[in-house]
Subunit: 408 residues, 2 copies
């Protein structure tokens, strides 16, 4: 079963890891610029001190994107990234030419402070859409953050990018190779607007492996496809998603491509799992495992259909093993996408086979949903050998509350 998120947290020191500063060759900082009314930290910088400055990134596929995404796409095009600057307290989306200038000037200010080219500085912003950031506050914050950079402040940086997150998300792994060890570390934020085609969030992953940008790019795309892309908190695709991967080469180790990819995947999986665990207002983390599919894509399509159902998610909140809502969602997937016989489907919830061949089987009452946060729903299509898992959360009163009050 392709579920990298299941055992995701193992060996990654979630939450307590220094994250982006775990690998050699990186410094970071997180400071309070004053962008948030709450007075909490809101600006972070991650800088790659080299010797290599390779970078790659994946962005939201939304056609409406923030100025930072427009800027950063240009930055990563040449595979060279020296630093990433990230702010919470405003997404800088739908802000017109002045908003783009805000992003540009932010990169310039970082570049001046660090002595690098502004064209090598990725910019990320998160928060409300449709409001300008206060430019002078932002730029003064950059100076503050540049002055605070240290090689052990990864957790500060992870804290400064939080919005409705309740805890910072960090992870790292160190991998031994015949040529020596290398480390991959990362941080992420995101608690709502987590959707397919990339969970909505900002994420920076760093490594001291000595690899070129094309290798980084391939590793990042492979890793996100099976981790962040398989998290769907609320079906809403963001305008700002950015995952950046930086390589400093400071370990002097050049791992095989698959070894690098696996390490990046482990860090992304841990961060994605941490996002699910901290999703807005959620009381259950739900893994929808689809097995017996004809292809992995078919399995993902069925799993996504289930994870997007408000009725299913509300039932999970009520600790109600309502497998009819699982079947009803499976049935919405077109046959050309996922061939299966609707009369053959089995559904198990937390190990209890409540539906066999599309009919009631074990008593619903045997399913215990109340005693654990994690829920596992397995849908067997009996159509092939492929499998996939998508994670989501339940739909709760707190989700409604947080998202009806966010901008007011």
């Amino acid at each position: 079963m392709t579920d990298h998120l299941g055992p995701a947290l193992e060996g990654t020191s979630p939450g307590t890891s220094p994250g982006v500063t775990a690998p050699a060759g990186f410094r970071a900082s997180g400071v309070t610029a004053g962008l948030k009314a709450s007075g909490r930290p809101d600006l972070a910088i991650v800088v790659n001190d080299g010797p290599r400055h390779a970078g790659a990134a994946v962005f939201t596929t939304n056609r409406v994107v923030g100025a930072p995404v427009v800027w950063s796409r240009q930055v990563v095009a040449d595979g060279v990234v020296s630093a990433v600057v990230l702010n919470s307290g405003g997404a800088n989306v739908s802000t017109g030419p002045e908003g783009f200038l805000d992003a540009h000037l932010t990169a310039e200010r970082v570049a001046t402070a660090l002595g690098v080219s502004s064209g090598d500085v990725v910019v990320c912003s998160t928060g409300l859409i449709g409001e300008r950031l206060p430019r002078e506050t932002l730029l003064a914050g950059v100076d503050l953050a540049a002055a605070a950079l240290t090689s052990d402040a990864g957790l500060d940086a992870a804290t400064a990018i939080m919005t409705t997150d309740t805890v910072p998300k960090t992870a790292h792994v160190t991998v031994e190779t015949p040529d020596g060890a290398f480390t991959v570390g990362g941080m992420a934020k995101g608690a709502g607007m987590l959707a397919p085609a990339m969970a909505t969030m900002l994420c920076v992953v760093t490594t001291d492996a000595d690899v070129a940008a094309p290798v980084l790019d391939a590793a990042l795309r492979a890793a996100t496809a099976e981790t962040f892309d398989r998290v769907d908190s609320d079906g809403c695709m963001s305008t700002s998603d950015t995952v950046t991967l930086l390589a400093s080469g400071a370990s002097g180790v050049t791992p095989a491509a698959d070894v690098l990819t696996d390490a990046v995947r482990r860090v992304c999986a841990s961060l994605a799992r941490q996002l699910v665990a901290d999703a807005e207002g959620a009381s259950h983390d739900i893994a929808v495992h689809v097995v017996g599919a004809t292809t992995p894509d078919a399995a993902v399509a069925v799993a996504r259909a289930v994870t997007r159902s408000n009725l299913f998610k509300a039932a999970m909140f009520g600790n109600d093993p309502n497998w009819g809502r699982v079947l009803a969602q499976a049935g919405t997937v077109p046959e050309e996408v996922a061939p299966f016989d609707p009369e053959a489907i089995d559904v198990a919830i937390n190990g209890v086979l409540v539906c066999k061949a599309a009919r009631p089987h074990a008593d619903r009452g045997e399913v215990d949903l109340a005693s654990a946060r994690e829920v596992h729903v397995t849908v067997d299509l009996h159509a092939g050998d492929a499998a996939a898992t998508v994670w989501t959360n339940d739909l709760t009163h707190d989700y409604v509350h947080e998202n009806s009050a966010y901008s007011t």
Copy 2:
């Protein structure tokens, strides 16, 4: 603007109309069979006394369907329908061969009581998925309902098919033609699982027009495409949606096809609008009007993307004119589906142009969402002349509550 639901209720006597018994040639009944634990009415019959017995129906496009849908698809294939029997208290979905037999025996019992062929009896069931109906209770209820048939009990029938609906939904219109008058009447139920590709519900529409089945079929498909198909309460497609249209010919009037279609559309529009007004836990009915699209399909695609957003719907619940969430959803529609320039989009909420050319315009504070249940959001894509409207509801605490407690 293609919005048949806007003025939908005008002249249709919503709620107080006799609905299916408004046209000549129909009797109906609604009784308590004992399928619902609450003891409320739960079984209805609508019978077409002719002289004509033409019928047509549209069904859910879900691949997982209830036994009644499998049965009724066969019934309507020949264009002859004598009666419709409908029960609440159980959907008879995922109930295996015994469940199919329940549906079959229900049609047989109706046929015996009315002296018609069981192959001309449409069966509809609504309620929980995955539980068998109590067969003897159901069949005894059929006898009770058959004995109660009268030509003025349309409102009783509409009441007996309610599940979480709080009010019965009925409507009718009478249309004068040069050859005389004909009437179209209807009833519907549905308060959750209202989704695209047909709002989830049961609906029976009757007319005393003297028209053949192919004309009925065309009128029904045209009417549902612009009414029920443009309602999306919670994005969840049902396994049981059935809209049946019956013609008795009792008026002796054969209207032109477009005149019939328009009358059927008016009744469907009124019923669809009543469904939105009674959606589970909703506090706002929200019309998303998309204008300036290249084609009607493009307009519908953008409108649907907005109406499916939990974040947008939660913001509406909070009376928060969060237009950023509208833009973010528009941006999720692929360019090949809806070509437009994301930088050109305008958004008005209740007449206040809060976003012009994808930038803040009028002050959000000018938007009044608190003083009315109905909300109008207009998205101008500035890409063409096509328009469409999709209706939805806000996402509320009551929605979460009702759907986390439904089966328990």
